[in-house]
């Protein structure tokens, strides 16, 4: 297929293209990260507490959760995107557009963050859990008052990593008409050989990722007192 070589978009017009795309990307990333954070936290806590050394060991439940998470993590995102279209339609009523991308992003990233959470919780010293139990804490209180606060730096750091990964995966959203910076880069930069748009989106993505990472790191430093 030969497309007429479009002239590169002039620099003073680029922002008009970038602005809506940036808005779409931020929307996808922020909403997906928020939902992934909540679901992943829940799943991670369940994985941890039902584990062998957990507060309430339940081997069958733990094995089942592990399997679900494992499957979720081994399906490539691009495949997942297509494979769960019926589910996406069920949840948001459409399989196209920005909100339709949020569903696969959440489904794809929740297992990842759940493992990150499990890892962070595992690093809380056992002695602290023991101390809480000795002080008469229930299992729920132990998780809420001891395990989660002590793991907070790891949880926030892990969420930052998850968010950055979501920025990356959201670029694939173009395939389902999701819009955003990734779609823009492919549309203009790749399909139309518009080097200026390509460069501008890449720079913008780099800046966004750096900013999020910076904020995440600052937050971790603030809540960490080790």
């Amino acid at each position: 297929m030969t497309l007429p070589l479009a002239d590169a978009t002039p620099w003073d017009e680029i922002w008009e293209l970038l602005e809506p795309a940036l808005g779409q990307t931020l929307q996808m990333v922020v909403i997906s990260t928020a939902i992934t954070g909540l679901l992943g936290l829940l799943l991670g806590v369940l994985l941890h507490t039902t584990g062998r050394d957990g507060l309430r060991p339940l081997p069958p439940v733990n094995a089942l959760l592990g399997l679900v998470v494992g499957i979720g993590r081994s399906v490539p995102f691009i495949v997942l995107l297509a494979a769960i279209i019926p589910f996406t339609r069920l949840v948001v009523g459409t399989s196209l557009g920005t909100s339709a991308v949020i569903v696969p992003l959440v489904v794809g990233m929740t297992p990842f963050y759940a493992r990150v959470v499990e890892q962070a919780l595992r690093e809380v010293p056992r002695g602290l859990v023991e101390m809480a139990r000795a002080a008469g804490a229930s299992r729920t209180q132990t998780v809420r008052k001891v395990v989660l606060p002590e793991a907070a730096p790891g949880l926030v750091g892990g969420l930052t990593i998850t968010l950055v990964a979501i920025v990356g995966f959201s670029a694939m959203a173009g395939t389902v008409g999701g819009g955003g910076l990734g779609a823009l880069a492919i549309d203009y930069g790749y399909n139309r050989y518009d080097g200026n748009v390509m460069l501008a989106t890449v720079v913008l993505l780099v800046v966004i990722v750096q900013l999020f990472q910076l904020v995440g790191d600052l937050l971790v430093r603030r809540i960490s007192h080790r």
Partner: protein, 385 residues
């Protein structure tokens, strides 16, 4: 009051049951401080963990404050644990909370309202002398200060009973003394019953009313500290006031080892003895100190005349005398290290340790690192050889 009744705990490992506690019975009356001492791996921590049921006993009962903890369900157990304060070796402080926040934790768990929490925390932080550090995070505290925070936290819910597992291990002697003084003060002021797990004889001697020696999961000897130190037959007593190296008897005289066996020994007994015998009594070594408020320990003296029977002369004065070569043959443990850190030889009944004495030349077989704070004093025989 704490009552442990024929407590047995077995762990399943590699398909085999390992008995870690074997029919342990122990009773600590209200307001008393009881020590549990023993070599590494004896089961001391397991015993402590069974007392608040962090570890469920395989059999036997644990009664704290009249309540049989082994009979309780989850929720009742949580309530019961709030009446037992626990202090850990590692302090186990939350790094995410300040000193005040850590002390406040048990109060939050028990649902104490915020205003009440605040006053109680201030009170507790002051009680352990950390007023200036209420807003400090644990990472900025010294080991002794961290331990104080742990103690304040253990006291938060006004428990009747305090469990302490190696709370002073890893602290320097001065800090250890100050922590022990704090615990003793708490007992005196609040009438707490304290179960103190330790591997240091000095801790037992300085603060405990009673002590049990745990070895291989069994209580080998137990009793009141005051009674044990004055019992010449008690291995534990000799461990509490260990023999120190003594000088060589001048001019081939006869050396005697004199043990204090009563609490009303005449402090001037050596002078009196010289006067009665009309001969001089050479003092070769002594380790006499106040244990539980009374003098206890050993004195080694020498008499020029080997025919004098000092044992006979000192009987009835609260002093037990034995010829030193006799003592050597029937030797007491070389030091606390030998008593506490050495596992019994293969096939030896640990129960026999209290009665029979161990080879005085035998090196303490325990972990050398364990033994460093229990320096092995050479026996008199070694010294004279």
């Amino acid at each position: 009051m704490i009552e442990v009744d024929t407590l047995t705990k077995a762990f399943r490992r590699n398909g085999r049951d390992h008995v870690v506690l074997d029919a342990v019975s122990l009773r600590v009356d209200a307001g008393r401080i009881a020590g549990v001492i023993g070599p590494s791996g004896a089961g001391k921590s397991t015993l402590a963990r069974c007392v608040n049921l962090l570890e469920r006993p395989t059999s036997g009962r644990v009664v704290v404050g009249g309540q049989d903890l082994t009979a309780l369900r989850d929720r009742e157990l949580q309530a019961a644990r709030r009446r037992i304060g626990t202090i850990f070796q590692a302090a186990n402080l939350l790094s995410s909370r300040t000193v005040a926040g850590n002390v406040s934790l048990p109060l939050e768990i028990a649902g104490v309202p915020r205003a009440e929490r605040r006053t109680r925390v201030a009170e507790l932080v002051a009680r352990v002398g950390l007023e200036d550090h209420a807003r400090t995070h644990p990472a900025q505290l010294s080991g002794g200060q961290r331990q104080r925070v742990g103690i304040a936290r253990a006291l938060a819910l006004r428990p009747d009973v305090l469990l302490s597992d190696e709370a002073t291990s890893g602290l320097d002697p001065d800090t250890t003394r100050s922590i022990l003084a704090l615990l003793r003060g708490l007992r005196d002021d609040l009438g707490l019953t304290i179960l103190l797990i330790t591997h240091e004889m000095e801790v037992v001697r300085d603060v405990c009313d009673q002590v049990a020696l745990l070895r291989d999961g069994r209580i080998v000897e137990q009793g009141d500290v005051g009674a044990l130190v004055t019992d010449p037959d008690s291995a534990l007593g000799r461990g509490l006031v260990p023999a120190r190296p003594v000088a060589v008897a001048p001019g081939g005289g006869q050396s005697w080892r004199v043990t204090y066996t009563a609490d009303d020994v005449d402090p001037a007994w050596i002078g009196r003895l010289e006067h009665e015998l009309g001969t001089r009594v050479a003092l070769l070594g002594a380790s006499v100190e106040a244990v539980d408020g009374r003098p206890a320990g050993h004195v080694t003296v020498a008499l020029d005349d080997p025919t004098i029977d000092l044992a006979e002369r000192l009987r009835g004065r609260g002093l037990h005398a034995a010829r030193l070569d006799e003592t050597a043959a029937d030797a007491p443990p070389a030091a606390v290290a030998d008593l506490v850190a050495a596992p019994p030889a293969a096939g030896e009944d640990p129960g026999a340790v209290a009665a029979t004495d161990r080879d005085p030349t035998g090196e303490p077989a325990g972990d050398p690192a364990e033994a460093t704070d229990l320096p092995a004093a050479p026996t008199p025989t070694e010294e004279r050889a």
